[in-house]
C-alpha cells in the first residue's frame, strides 16, 4: 500500500522510491558534516532552574495578592461612599465610634465636626450630631477608628493629637494596613509552599 510505504516504509511504492533516489544527493551526510566548533566550556547547572521557577511563581503570586489587596482597598472605599445616607447605618459600642442614626435631622452647621457622643444619647434638642460631612459609616467591629474632636476631650475617647486625619481617612488607612498584612502572610505561605516543592525535587534528583 502506498500510504504504508510513505508512512513507515512497509510494502513498496515505485514512485516514492524514485523520488527518494533522485533526492538522495541532498541527504544529510554525517561524514561531510563540519566538525562541531568549540562549544562553550561552561554549561549552566540544572539546579538553577528551580530558582527561576520559584521567582516566577512567587512574583506571579505576589502580583495577584497585591492587586487583590489594592482592589479590596478601593472597593471598600467606594462601598463606604455608596453606603452614605442609609437608614440602616450600624454603629458599635458608644465608646468606640459615633454615627448619627437619624439622617433626616442632620446638623449642617459649620461647628459640627467629628464628635464623640453616646449612641443612645440624643442631643439637647433631639438632633443627633452629624458625623463628618453628613456621612454614615459602616464600621467593622474589630476596628477602632480614631475620632478627632473639636473642643473638650471626652474621657473615653482615644485621640491622636499629633496626626490630624479625619475618621474616614483613618479608617481607610487601617483597612489598607489590614490588607497589606494579609498579603504578606499569604506571600509567606506561598513561598514556604514552593520551597517545600523544590526541596522535594532536589531530594528526588539527588537520590538517583
Amino acid at each position: 500500500m502506498k500510504e504504508d510505504y510513505l508512512w513507515d516504509k512497509t510494502g513498496g511504492d515505485p514512485e516514492i522510491e524514485r523520488l527518494e533516489n533522485a533526492l538522495a544527493a541532498y541527504r544529510f551526510q554525517e561524514n561531510d558534516t563540519p566538525l562541531i566548533p568549540s562549544l562553550p566550556a561552561k554549561v549552566l547547572a540544572f539546579e538553577q532552574k528551580p530558582a527561576r521557577r520559584f521567582y516566577k511563581l512567587a512574583f506571579a503570586a505576589a502580583a495577584c495578592l497585591a492587586f487583590a489587596a489594592a482592589g479590596s482597598g478601593v472597593w471598600f472605599g467606594f462601598y463606604n461612599d455608596k453606603t452614605t445616607n442609609r437608614d440602616s447605618a450600624k454603629t458599635i459600642e458608644p465608646e468606640k465610634i459615633v454615627a448619627p442614626r437619624n439622617e433626616s435631622k442632620v446638623d449642617n452647621s459649620p461647628e459640627s465636626l467629628v464628635e464623640k457622643t453616646e449612641v443612645s444619647t440624643a442631643g439637647k434638642d433631639g438632633n443627633y450630631k452629624q458625623f463628618a460631612r453628613s456621612k454614615f459609616v459602616k464600621v467593622h467591629k474589630n476596628i477602632q477608628p480614631v475620632v478627632y474632636r473639636k473642643g473638650a476631650k471626652p474621657a473615653n475617647v482615644e485621640v491622636e493629637a499629633e496626626v490630624k486625619l479625619t475618621a474616614e481617612e483613618r479608617y481607610a488607612y487601617d483597612q489598607l494596613r489590614l490588607a497589606l498584612s494579609i498579603t504578606s502572610s499569604k506571600l509567606k505561605l506561598v513561598k514556604n509552599k514552593v520551597e517545600g516543592v523544590e526541596e522535594k525535587n532536589v531530594a528526588r534528583k539527588g537520590g538517583r
Binding site: E3, L6, W7, D8, K9, E15, I16, L19, E20, A22, L23, A24, A25, Y26, R27, F28, E30, D32, T33, P34, I36, P37, L39, P40, V43, L44, A45, F46, Q48, K49, P50, R53, L57, A60, A61, C64, L65, A68, S72, A179, I182, K186, L189, V190, K193, V194, V197, K200, N201, R204
Partner: protein, 196 residues
C-alpha cells in the same frame, strides 16, 4: 466576594502552580532525549555527540526546506551551537526535538533577514547550475508547497525518516505527521504532473 474567599482563591492558585511545577519536574526524564539533555547539562560531551547524531538529520531537513543548499550546513552548525548554549532553558525535556526544530526555523528565517550577500559563480559552476537537474526540480517543487508539508516531505523523502520518527523528533502528533505526508505528497504529485 469576601476577603477570606478572595485570599483563599489566590492561595489555591499559587498552590496549583506549585503542584504543576512538581509534576512537570517528575515527568521530565521519561524519554531518552530527556535523559540525554540531563547528561548534557551535567557536562557530558559524549551525550551531546549522541544528541547531534539523533537530531542532525531533522535539523538539516528543516533548514533545507527553507534556505539554499549551500547555506544549509552553516545554519545547521549554528543551530546546534545555540542549542548547546541554551539547553538548560528547555522547560519540557521530553519535547526537546520540537524546541530544536523551532530554533532551526528561526535561524532559517534570520538568514533572509540578514540579507546574506551572494557572489557570482565561476563559469564552470554556472553552467552546471543551468542544467536544471531532476533533483533540483523536485526540491524546488517541494519547497513551493506549504511549509509544514514541505518540511515533513523533506524529512521523509530526503532524510529518510519514517512518519513516526518525524512526529517524535519534531514534536508533532502521529496524526498530524500522517496528514502532512499524505496531503503534501498529493500536492507534490500534482505539481510534478504524476498520476496517483
Amino acid at each position: 466576594m469576601s476577603e477570606t474567599e478572595m485570599t483563599g482563591n489566590i492561595f489555591n492558585f499559587a498552590a496549583g502552580k506549585a503542584k504543576a511545577a512538581a509534576i512537570s519536574a517528575a515527568t521530565q526524564t521519561d524519554r531518552p532525549e530527556a535523559r540525554l539533555v540531563e547528561r548534557i547539562c551535567a557536562g557530558d560531551g559524549e551525550a551531546f555527540g549522541e544528541f547531534y547524531k539523533i537530531f542532525a538529520p531533522v535539523v538539516h531537513g528543516i533548514v533545507l526546506a527553507r534556505v539554499p543548499r549551500d547555506e544549509v550546513d552553516d545554519i545547521v552548525q549554528n543551530v546546534f551551537v545555540s542549542a548547546y548554549k541554551n539547553l538548560h532553558t528547555v522547560r519540557d525535556r521530553n519535547r526537546v526535538g520540537a524546541w530544536l526544530a523551532m530554533i532551526a526555523r528561526n535561524l532559517s528565517i534570520e538568514y533572509y533577514r540578514r540579507g546574506k550577500p551572494t557572489e557570482e559563480l565561476p563559469e564552470e559552476l554556472r553552467q552546471k547550475d543551468d542544467l536544471k537537474t531532476e533533483a533540483s526540480e523536485i526540491l524546488a517543487a517541494i519547497r513551493s508547497l506549504p511549509e509544514t508539508y514541505a518540511e515533513t516531505l523533506i524529512l521523509r523523502l530526503i532524510e529518510g525518516l519514517t512518519g513516526a520518527e518525524i512526529a517524535e523528533r519534531t514534536g508533532l502528533t502521529n496524526e498530524s505527521a500522517r496528514v502532512n505526508l499524505h496531503r503534501g505528497m498529493k500536492m507534490l504529485r500534482q505539481k510534478l504532473g504524476v498520476r496517483e
